[in-house]
């Protein structure tokens, strides 16, 4: 009996990479996202790569009314869910239009949290793995993207609580904090360094899920980078233009 995974944000480069890796293990996939044509292509690709099955679902992360239908597609029993939805508008766009903050929070925090909270009964009864993709940006507020960072910090905290809540039920929560990943989100952004391919991130995620790790940085060296960044005193940090 193959495992079933719901992948939220399966049109993103990282979501697609994870879906492919899961396909090669023979998983059953529910690929959720906004672009249904694109999801259909990824579903076909996953089937060709060995997925037991790959279905698609239209996901509007801002519209929780649709969440039940997606959750129901997984059927009863053990369920796994990986959350890749996210959006990072430039900080200056947000400054120009503060209403964007609502959307950033909804896409990066409240939407995913609502979806996962709805899975709680099934997770606590039957077990499963939750992979929540947060970000190193949530580890400290930087002037360049602190609204996004605040949303991701919230999501990280949510995942931490969810993990604790599910302890002892057979369900497990992995928090993933990617550094710079080579995706459409970072393509052409200035200041990128040590950019990791999405396949690398997918591999790290699966390993972490298999080993029931709680919080991972991917690539792993970001743990050291963020340790340093978090330990800079605020009075110094506020003067740094990072």
């Amino acid at each position: 009996m193959s495992e079933t995974w719901i992948v939220l944000g399966a049109s993103s480069a990282m979501g697609r990479a994870l879906a492919r890796s899961l396909a090669e293990r023979g998983a059953g996939l529910i690929l959720a996202g906004r672009d249904e044509d694109d999801l259909a292509a990824t579903a076909a690709d996953c089937r060709a790569r060995g997925a037991a099955d790959a279905e698609i679902a239209r996901l509007d992360i801002g519209d929780p009314a649709g969440f039940d239908d997606i959750r129901a597609m997984a059927g009863p029993g053990r369920v796994n869910c990986a959350v890749f939805v996210g959006d990072m508008p430039a900080q200056d766009e947000i400054d120009a239009d503060p209403a964007l903050i609502d959307r950033v929070m909804r896409v990066n925090l409240t939407g995913p949290a609502q979806f996962l909270t709805g899975l709680l009964p099934q997770l606590s009864e039957h077990g499963g793995t939750v992979v929540g993709v947060s970000s190193v940006a949530g580890d400290r507020g930087r002037q360049g993207n602190y609204v996004y960072g605040a949303a991701k910090a919230g999501f990280t905290t949510y995942l931490s609580g969810l993990r604790s809540r599910l302890e002892g039920t057979g369900a497990h929560v992995v928090t993933v904090k990617p550094g710079f990943v080579d995706t459409a989100m970072t393509w052409g952004l200035p200041g990128m360094f040590l950019v990791a391919p999405p396949e690398r991130v997918a591999r790290d995620i699966l390993r972490a899920a298999d080993r029931k790790r709680d919080v991972i940085y991917t690539p792993g060296f970001w743990r050291a980078i963020m340790l340093i960044i978090r330990s800079i005193p605020e009075r110094v940090f506020k003067r740094l233009s990072i």
Partner: protein
């Protein structure tokens, strides 16, 4: 869609371009780009020269559009996005008991690139070119997607068409039903040019190619190793190798004495009486892919690959061209001779029935002068040069080498009237006219 300004190069690294690059991850993004700011689409940039460059302009990378869209495991027809790599295609095909009928020497190249260059492999004399196994493809045009089939004018202009008819959204390929656990390879030594040529000419093998020592002189001129192969059901799995050339090598790395030593050692690997081994499919098709960035062995300034094909009847001229390469002392370890069949699928396809010779030569004045002289000899012999490799040719000569150029141009101009998909290569060779 964000653009990234970057400096980039083809595999030879002798020519470089600076410009904006977009890398759509979804078909809808590609379509939007084409509608708003059309630009040539590049694959994995495994062409050596400027076929994969648009200096000063924009380019769109297809590498993230790399999915299998449909795979009929009964018939072996597979439909894929253009950015799927040939290594991936091979892996997926084998997993269902099929083989891609044609594979070139690197698995890093993409399906879209293989179409745009109508690539060939070690079995060209039997299997023809890549494009001959394409059963349909979809181009993106200003008026939406356009499905093309073999025999249609636009199809003939797209296969081997250097991307000039527009972006390829999907490609349908007929795979060959073969249980290939590994490749059974027989290597035999040939003492000189005549022995090598006759061995290749007489080879009944499905795959036949020769490595030729471009440093040996005198009686040993043209010595080499003939490699003949066919798939076998015996399984051999490639070790995952992670070798990488970490930096641009110093000039000494491929200096003539080093190359001579390497070649002598390479020849000596194969015992006098020859040998037969089963080797993993990947190692057979893509012998150098196990060493990432091997092009850096040629140093910061890069290198060129001279590759020509001459008609069967002009083997004498090819012998003279090879002699000139040996005399120049410029050759690298990797020189290849192969008999080609007539198979080609597009107006601008490289293959012709005869013989092809390929040889890497370090970039620089001496090498470039030598290659241009060799090109003249090729033209005179009624042969042609391979545009996937070229960085140095002149336009009039190349257009004369490709007699169907006018047919191709008519279709390219019809589908891309503003030459929005022109590349460094098409401008240098004035293939799209003088615009």
């Amino acid at each position: 869609m964000r653009w990234k300004t970057a400096e980039y190069a083809g595999w030879g690294r002798a020519l470089r371009a600076k410009g904006r690059l977009a890398r759509p991850e979804r078909q809808a993004e590609l379509a939007r780009l084409i509608a708003t700011s059309p630009a040539p689409v590049l694959g994995a940039r495994r062409s050596y020269g400027d076929a994969c460059l648009n200096p000063g302009g924009d380019a769109i990378l297809s590498t993230r559009l790399d999915r299998v869209l449909e795979f009929d495991t009964q018939t072996g027809e597979i439909e894929v996005e253009p950015g799927l790599t040939l290594a991936d295609l091979l892996r997926l095909a084998r997993s269902q008991g099929f083989l891609p009928p044609v594979l070139p020497g690197t698995g890093h190249a993409t399906v879209g690139g293989a179409v745009a260059m109508d690539v060939h492999g070690k079995n060209h004399h039997r299997a023809g070119s890549f494009g001959q196994h394409v059963t349909a493809l979809t181009l993106l045009t200003g008026d939406g997607p356009l499905r093309l089939h073999p025999g249609e004018a636009a199809f003939l202009a797209t296969i081997g068409g250097l991307g000039q008819t527009g972006p390829i959204a999907r490609v349908r390929i007929q795979l060959e039903r073969r249980q290939a656990g590994a490749m059974r390879v027989t290597e035999t030594r040939a003492a000189d040019w005549d022995a090598l040529v006759s061995r290749l000419a007489e080879s009944p093998a499905e795959y036949a190619v020769a490595w030729i020592d471009a440093t040996a002189r005198g009686a040993a001129t043209g010595r080499g190793i003939v490699e003949e192969a066919a798939p076998t059901e015996t399984r051999r799995t490639a070790r995952e190798r992670r070798l990488r050339v970490p930096l641009d090598a110093p000039r000494l790395a491929l200096a003539p004495p080093v190359v001579r030593l390497f070649n002598a050692a390479y020849l000596a690997r194969v015992p006098k009486e020859g040998r037969t081994r089963d080797i993993p499919c990947e190692s057979f098709y893509f012998p150098l892919d196990g060493i990432a960035d091997w092009n850096r062995l040629y140093g910061r300034n890069g290198f060129h690959q001279f590759q020509c094909v001459l008609p069967e009847a002009r083997l004498d001229a090819l012998r003279a061209i090879f002699g000139a390469i040996v005399e120049s002392g410029l050759a690298s370890p990797l020189s290849v001779l192969k008999r080609m069949g007539p198979g080609r699928a597009g107006h601008m396809s490289f293959p012709m029935e005869g013989w092809t010779l390929a040889c890497d030569i370090r970039a620089g004045d001496a090498g470039e002068t030598a290659i241009r002289a060799l090109y003249d000899d090729v033209a005179e012999a009624g042969g042609r040069i391979y545009l996937a490799k070229d960085a140095l040719a002149g336009g009039a000569m190349v257009r004369a080498m490709y007699p169907e150029h006018a047919d191709w141009l008519a279709e390219a101009d019809r589908l891309d009237p503003n030459a929005a998909y022109a590349t460094g290569l098409t401008r240098r060779l004035e293939l799209r006219g003088t615009s």
